[in-house]
Symmetry: C2
Subunit: 227 residues, 2 copies
């Protein structure tokens, strides 16, 4: 009997890959307009290396980019990049189509809903609130809170504990085979892969594979013998 659903956030409930990519590109363009003397392609290549080396939650990507290119700290250029990134975030953050309708239906079916996500707690909450979907979730569990992220099974086990549910009562919905589906499956959850974001063309096996979050409704009905 399925009693709850745990969702990944980025690229599962909204188009994180696209938003981040546009925000970074526009931020770099605005920094070049502000005097960062470099070609767009070279700036993006340096920025991508910094993000790869320092991780996506490192707070000083643009500081390092400007220092690498200009050899000095230039607060005007860095602040310009930060403002543009933030403006794009505010403008573009929205849930995938059908997400809110589906969350309404799932709540009406009496299911507990939660988010289990890698990332900084306040940043992930900021996204949920800006997306306008936070009231649907009984709990939001972040890797920062737990101290360990995906694909560690302990993190998924902690998520079950927070939801007060057993593995076989829970569906896990995520976009990534390696970090979402595999660990959830190992613990005994029903896994649903949603074909969204930049990993959607990678191969991989989940219990269910869907293109639209609305397909969850029938999956729950099927599993709970109501169809």
């Amino acid at each position: 009997m399925i009693k709850g659903i745990l969702f990944d956030l980025d690229d599962t409930l909204y188009n994180s890959s696209e938003f981040v990519s546009i925000a970074r590109r526009e931020a770099v363009k605005s920094m070049i307009d502000a005097g960062l003397n470099v070609s767009f392609d070279e700036a993006m290549s340096i920025l991508n290396k910094i993000i790869k080396d320092k991780g996506s939650n490192y707070g000083k990507h643009f500081d390092d980019l400007v220092k690498t290119i200009l050899g000095r700290y230039d607060p005007m250029i860095i602040a310009t990049g930060i403002i543009t990134y933030h403006n794009v975030k505010v403008a573009l953050l929205r849930p995938y189509p059908n997400t809110i309708k589906t969350l309404i239906k799932l709540k009406n079916m009496g299911l507990k809903l939660g988010v289990l996500t890698d990332g900084l707690t306040l940043k992930q909450w900021e996204k949920l609130i800006r997306l306008g979907i936070h009231p649907f979730f009984d709990d939001v569990i972040t890797s920062e809170e737990f101290g360990l992220g995906k694909p560690h099974e302990e993190f998924f086990r902690y998520g079950l504990k927070r939801m007060n549910l057993k593995a076989d009562e829970v569906i896990y919905v995520g976009d990534r085979i390696d970090r979402d589906i595999e660990p959830a499956k190992k613990l005994g959850m029903i896994t649903v892969r949603i074909l969204k974001g930049k990993y959607k063309d990678l191969k991989g096996e989940a219990d269910y594979t869907i293109k639209d979050i609305g397909d969850l409704i029938n999956i729950v009905k099927e599993l709970n013998g109501k169809k």
Copy 2:
């Protein structure tokens, strides 16, 4: 001969007191709406104490407020406050009336213009860029960069050095007698107090006292013998 003008930023070029006050109040209201179980007045009183104890650039005012009231960390409530504060900032940041026109005229008079401000470098730059006035300034000097802020005379001396001007070639414009006017006067700058912000009713003596930034034009003309 006046060759340059150094400006304070907060409450001198835009209404910082009002904007911060509205942003904090709206953020607290939004946190109460989100479940912070406290009266508005009590929340504001606790928040003001936290700001007084930790300083205005401490990054976790809302974290501490929520922990003090609820006895626990509640990321949804904290993130709600942060989003509201930021939204108000974006909505309300604008220069005082006549500021841009006056900056245009001062640049046309051949003056070097600079900002000498207490605060975090990227935050102060963010304000200048959002205000749309950063292109007028030849330099922006922050206390974070120098390591020491107002009212220390060394900070003002460092500002003169950065502008490559002598004290008697510079007008300092600020709203505060104790932190702007007195140290600038001691170093030998011409001081202009602008009656804006929450300290505008305090007594104090500057070389000139103005209500509108546009009065600077005639002060420069007078000092440079062109009137």
